[in-house]
């Protein structure tokens, strides 16, 4: 009975976490529709926050959809968060190299000071540190923008995320070791095969020379 109760609680928690990303997507869709109908500053800020929280979750689990990072970068650029916008533009180009050309053009239009900054370290930047709650009009809170930029260099992970990361690292290490052993075996096999073939050819050549002598 206790086991069944624990199982149902775990399943319920899993279902709730699954629903939250869908809720976030629904929220960003609703906010996008609101912004497209009324492009006020308040709607832009809300949309940017929704994109930020949705993307920081998505990127930890996998790859974002085409255009998502660029759209978030556009909202950040319009809110005068140029450094963060540059990071997200670079992420879009990192995940989808086919987007490089229009991303560069948008950077030229919106954040020209970062036009040549294509640092690939964007992928390693801590995305959870982008405090989506503090996204406001950059002209009023330049200090907040600087704090966000400094916080982006620190790594903050929860215990669960640390365990997951450790498991992923161990798995990747095991896979690399297995592939190394496989490559070594293939090399040894190829060497043996080459030796056998060389010996065969030598024997053949010797037979022919013996025949000629006769």
């Amino acid at each position: 009975m206790k086991r069944i109760l624990v199982l149902t609680l775990i399943l319920g928690a899993l279902a709730a976490t699954g629903c939250s990303s869908r809720k976030a997507a629904g929220n960003s869709n609703a906010l996008l529709i609101q912004y497209m109908q009324d492009d006020s500053q308040a709607n832009l800020v809300n949309l940017s926050k929704a994109y930020g929280s949705q993307l920081s979750r998505v990127i930890r689990e996998g790859r974002p959809q085409p255009g998502e990072c660029a759209d978030y970068a556009v909202t950040l650029a319009l809110l005068n968060h140029a450094a963060e916008a540059n990071t997200w533009f670079n992420l879009e180009a990192y995940y989808y190299p086919t987007s490089t050309q229009y991303v560069e053009q948008l950077k030229l239009d919106l954040i020209p000071e970062y036009a040549s900054d294509n640092s690939t370290d964007a992928k390693d930047a801590d995305l959870s540190a982008f405090d989506s709650k503090s996204v406001e009009d950059g002209s009023a809170n330049a200090q907040m923008a600087d704090n966000n930029q400094q916080a982006a260099t620190k790594v903050k992970l929860t215990k669960k995320e640390k365990k997951k990361l450790a498991r992923q690292k161990a798995k990747a290490k095991k896979k690399a070791k297995h592939e190394k052993q496989k490559a070594k075996k293939a090399k040894i096999k190829a060497k043996k095969k080459a030796k056998k073939q060389a010996a065969k050819q030598k024997a053949k050549a010797q037979k022919e020379s013996n025949r000629n002598e006769e």
């Binding site: 809720k23 629904g26 869709n29 609703a30 996008l32 529709i33 497209m36 109908q37 959809q65 085409p66 255009g67 998502e68 660029a70 759209d71 556009v74 909202t75 989808y96 086919t98 987007s99 490089t100 050309q101 229009y102 053009q105 948008l106 239009d109 919106l110």
Partner: protein, 267 residues
């Protein structure tokens, strides 16, 4: 003798029936209908701002606030959901906000864009094709909502029309004994999730269905391994009738150009 002629007649009839059935299902193979897409292999698509000829401007229609909100919300949602079926086919689609920024740099009108050279998009933004969409009209009546939409996909390099589809999409409105509209549970949940009215939600669901029917018919992109494996499949016809019935099922069938123009452009 009589039996042989009878047999011959029956077999001829069967052949004619089979031919009509086969021809009515789908118009052409994808290899023929989308031959330009298979030749040019576009991968990056830019969705141009919607030419919403059915837009309800508040200053013009002051009193119909609810109706205006419904129609305009559907137009916004149409633009938001247009990318998903293209992404599922393997195309890279520029997001709506980035696309809006690109559109700000464009000085040509919609009509001029559709007719003139699009090489600048290929040179400046790396775009292979532009999707132009026009919402011509919304119609209500006989327990249904109907929308008329036109899709044009043009190459930015050769200016060829890669796809041109006209759609008449109808959603059946469920009514009670008093003939008042009764929203389906799915519509109410959708409206709650997007924080819009149920009427707007129903229109949004309809335009989303149309996007799926039209754009998922495009060939799989050349960026996927499955490229060219769907050449033998049938394609949509140029004029399409899509029906979203009470049970939530979507049915599509070809229609004639005359029937479409008669319904869409006449009062």
């Amino acid at each position: 003798m009589k039996t042989t002629t009878m047999k011959l007649r029956i077999s001829i009839l069967m052949v004619i029936l089979a031919a009509t059935v086969l021809s009515s299902c789908k118009s052409e193979r994808k290899l023929t209908y989308y031959s330009d897409i298979y030749a040019e292999k576009p991968t990056t698509i830019y969705v141009a701002p919607i030419n919403d000829r059915a837009a309800r401007k508040p200053d013009k229609y002051e009193k119909d606030k609810a109706y205006n909100a419904e129609v305009n919300a559907a137009s916004s949602y149409f633009l938001k959901t247009i990318s998903q079926p293209l992404i599922s086919q393997g195309y890279y689609v520029i997001g709506p906000l980035a696309a809006a920024q690109i559109a700000k740099n464009e000085t040509r009108t919609y009509r001029q864009l559709v007719k003139t050279d699009l090489n600048s998009y290929s040179a400046d933004y790396g775009v292979d094709a532009i999707l132009f969409t026009t919402i011509h009209r919304w119609k209500e009546g006989n327990g249904t909502w109907t929308v008329y939409i036109e899709y044009v996909l043009r190459s930015t390099k050769t200016y060829a029309e890669l796809m041109h589809t006209w759609v008449e999409a109808t959603k059946v409105i469920f009514t009670d004994m008093k003939k008042d509209p009764v929203p389906m549970r799915a519509d109410r949940l959708f409206a709650k999730r997007l924080d819009i009215s149920v009427g707007a939600a129903e229109r949004c669901i309809l335009v989303n269905s149309v996007n799926n029917v039209v754009l998922k018919d495009l060939p799989i992109s050349s960026s996927r391994r499955q490229f060219e494996t769907d050449q033998h499949l049938g394609s949509n016809s140029a004029y399409l009738r899509v029906t979203y019935n009470e049970t939530g099922e979507i049915e599509s069938e070809p229609m004639s150009m005359e029937a479409f123009e008669d319904a869409c452009f006449t009062k």
